[in-house]
């Protein structure tokens, strides 16, 4: 089946562009980058076509990587239905975003990424690692991809400081556990043995997995890096921080469903973290003024939804939402990028407004994402969010109601962003211009997917065979409630931002305390700064630097030297330089020796 071609193609693109891109023209760089990803996408399609009924997973073994004692890890790729969904999302949306990047990066000469070719090389490298993550048939390969995408995210943001250390720690701890408990890293064998393992072991593994997933998928309490990561170029935000990389945690949890079904405690924790994050991030998204920040918090919130689905035992709904979210959130980000592009870099929504007439294509495509994320039937968000909420309702009514409330908030903040950006009168200085075709064509494709994707790709049906059977709730009332929540959100936003434009400020004045709380993101950054970062810096300075480094390490080194001097200063008294005193010592020594021999019986054998 030649599965290796799927990740190798983007890697080849990375190598070609990375090594020779400097000498290439922009057109050639784009052709290599996009060509490699599109070819990879086509190869995915061909693979799927060749797999027939898709019910038998295809595993390809390439070579044995680690063989030590009972541990035997091979470099294996695995394709089953779950992988197929991820592959299509990653390569499909990846291709679109690559195309879009041509237009977006055309004028980009930022200091953070020293060149057009390097940007595309990193994007291709990201695709490679993401595909390894998805295709890997063992936790170790998954981990390789996991770290690789983190690296690429770091490279593309050009950040100095990565807050994802917790992810690594969680994963390492988890991998160590895995080896200890099962002596194997292959999904197949692990899941085979998981059934017989004691529950506390599985719960521990599940929780560790979850910590890793929380870090990658930006869940409480490790979500703070994601909004900061939006500092990167918008296509990066769309590809890595909305559509693919951040869903790796969701994918991993779904992939490990066997473990989680045997560890209900861990499942509950996932559901609770998911719903808390969803609500938390949505409230922050309500009041942000930076258009990318709104969507960033929206991403965090939607990822929370996916975790609700998985935590409720309905793994396929989590993946379903992962896919639809990839469609409409990529579209929202690319649309936002198009708006920012049109306004020559303006990101503050207070300086936008009335753009509906000036950049109509961007407006109409983004409107598709708008109705999709708000859960208006029959578009993407309606299907997947409804499936998740139905699953949550069976799991816990409290989670369901919080989820519904969050759906309302979601609709509200997206509508707010849309109204502030596209309606009313223009408040900025720049002269908006519509983006080139190379940018709006991907937008249009994504718009179609946002409108029809949920209906075209019924993921829960598709994945039914993979996951344990889950009772679908067929309560139409639940559907009405969630649809109503979404419409109410849009309606409220319409009321506040369109009918009575002054109302938003008035509300902000009236509810000053919560507004400030939301606006400052619950002061979480400050909280972390005070509770984690500063103690860490202070602790490093006082304990590690002054104490351990200067005190202990230097102390040992200097102390050895100083003690040698001390001993020497005593011993040098012996070295008087007078032959006679030496002779005296020799005499004393001989006498002592003879005495000792006399006392202890001489040299008798």
């Amino acid at each position: 089946m030649q599965l290796w071609l799927i990740p190798i193609l983007p890697l080849a693109g990375f190598l070609i562009n990375g090594l020779f891109g400097r000498k290439f023209s922009k057109g050639l760089v784009s052709a290599v980058a996009i060509g490699s990803v599109v070819l990879s996408f086509l190869w995915v399609l061909k693979t799927i076509a060749a797999m027939g009924d898709l019910n038998t997973p295809v595993v390809e073994h390439y070579f044995t990587w680690i063989q030590s004692g009972t541990i035997n890890v091979g470099c294996d790729f695995l394709v089953d239905r779950l992988t197929i969904v991820m592959l299509l999302v990653v390569t499909g949306i990846g291709s679109l975003i690559h195309v879009y990047s041509i237009g977006y990066m055309a004028h980009e000469h930022g200091p953070n990424f020293g060149g057009y070719y390097r940007f595309f090389a990193y994007l291709n490298l990201f695709m490679f690692f993401m595909l390894v993550l998805v295709l890997g048939a063992s936790y170790l390969l998954l981990f390789v991809g996991w770290e690789g995408v983190g690296l690429c995210s770091y490279l593309l943001i050009g950040f100095y400081f990565d807050k994802k250390f917790a992810t690594n720690a969680g994963n390492k701890a988890f991998i160590v556990n895995r080896i200890k408990n099962f002596g194997s890293l292959d999904f197949d064998k692990v899941f085979h043995q998981a059934a017989s393992a004691p529950e506390w072991v599985l719960t521990t593994i599940g929780l560790l997995l979850m910590v890793g997933a929380c870090g990658k998928s930006a869940q409480i309490p490790l979500y703070v890096w994601l909004p900061d990561a939006m500092a990167g170029p918008t296509p990066v935000s769309a590809l890595i921080h909305a559509a693919t990389m951040v869903t790796a945690g969701v994918y991993m949890t779904a992939r490990s469903w066997v473990i989680f079904t045997h560890a209900p405690g861990a499942m509950d924790v996932i559901a609770i973290i998911g719903v808390t994050t969803a609500l938390f991030a949505a409230t922050i998204g309500l009041v942000q003024n930076d258009i990318k920040k709104v969507f960033a918090y929206s991403t965090v919130s939607q990822l929370g939804y996916m975790f609700i689905g998985i935590g409720s035992g309905a793994f396929s709904t989590g993946i379903y939402h992962l896919m639809t979210h990839a469609f409409f959130k990529a579209l929202l980000f690319l649309g936002a990028g198009s708006v920012i592009h049109a306004l020559s870099g303006e990101q503050d929504m207070r300086n936008m407004g009335g753009l509906r007439k000036k950049i109509p294509i961007t407006f109409w495509t983004m409107a598709c994402a708008w109705v999709a994320i708000a859960g208006v039937p029959p578009f993407d968000g309606f299907y997947s969010k409804d499936a998740i909420l139905a699953a949550a309702y069976q799991h816990s009514h409290a989670i369901y109601w919080v989820g519904v409330f969050t759906a309302c908030l979601t609709a509200f903040y997206v509508s707010r962003a849309m109204f502030m950006t596209f309606f009313g009168s223009y408040r900025g200085q720049a002269h908006p211009h519509e983006s080139p075709a190379v940018m709006w064509v991907p937008l249009a494709v994504l718009a179609v997917l946002s409108l029809a994707g949920g209906w075209l790709f019924p993921i829960p049906e598709f994945l039914k065979a993979m996951f344990p059977a889950f009772e679908e709730a067929t309560n139409p009332l639940l559907t009405y409630i969630s649809v109503f929540a979404g419409l109410a959100g849009i309606g409220l936003a319409y009321l506040v931002y369109m009918v009575k434009p002054g109302m938003a400020d008035a509300l902000a004045q009236t509810f000053r305390a919560p507004y400030q709380l939301f606006y400052n993101k619950y002061f979480v950054d400050e909280l972390y700064d005070n509770t984690v970062v500063r103690p860490l810096v202070g602790g490093s300075r006082m304990v590690l630097w002054k104490g351990v480094d200067a005190g202990l390490i230097d102390g040992i080194v200097n102390g050895v030297g100083a003690r040698c001097r001390d001993v020497g200063s005593v011993l040098r008294l012996l070295q008087s330089g007078s032959i006679r005193s030496y002779a005296t010592w020799v005499l004393f020594g001989s006498v002592a020796l003879i005495l000792a021999m006399g006392l202890f019986g001489g040299l008798q054998r």
Binding site: G577, S578, R580, A583, T584, L587
Partner: protein, 103 residues
Amino acid sequence: MMTAVPISWFLTLSAILFALGVAGFLFRRNIITVFMSIELMLNAVNLSFVTFSYQHKDVSGHLFTFFVMVVAAAEAAVGLAIILTVFKNRSTLNVDDVNSMKN
């Protein structure tokens, strides 16, 4: 056999001579006396060698003695020459006055 004189007497004499040599080496200041004390110690050891050689009927003790005598002769030649030169230059034979190599 000559007999009648026990081995221990020879050894005791050797020890007394050696102790006298050590005492002279440590306490006397005159270079010539120090030099003679060293010779005395060497000869005390020679006496021990010969005694043991006799007792064990082993010739290597004699061999050692000859070696020591050769070295002592050479030492006497070189040492006396040095002492003469020192006396010519410093007009003294007190070891404490010719310690300029120290420090």
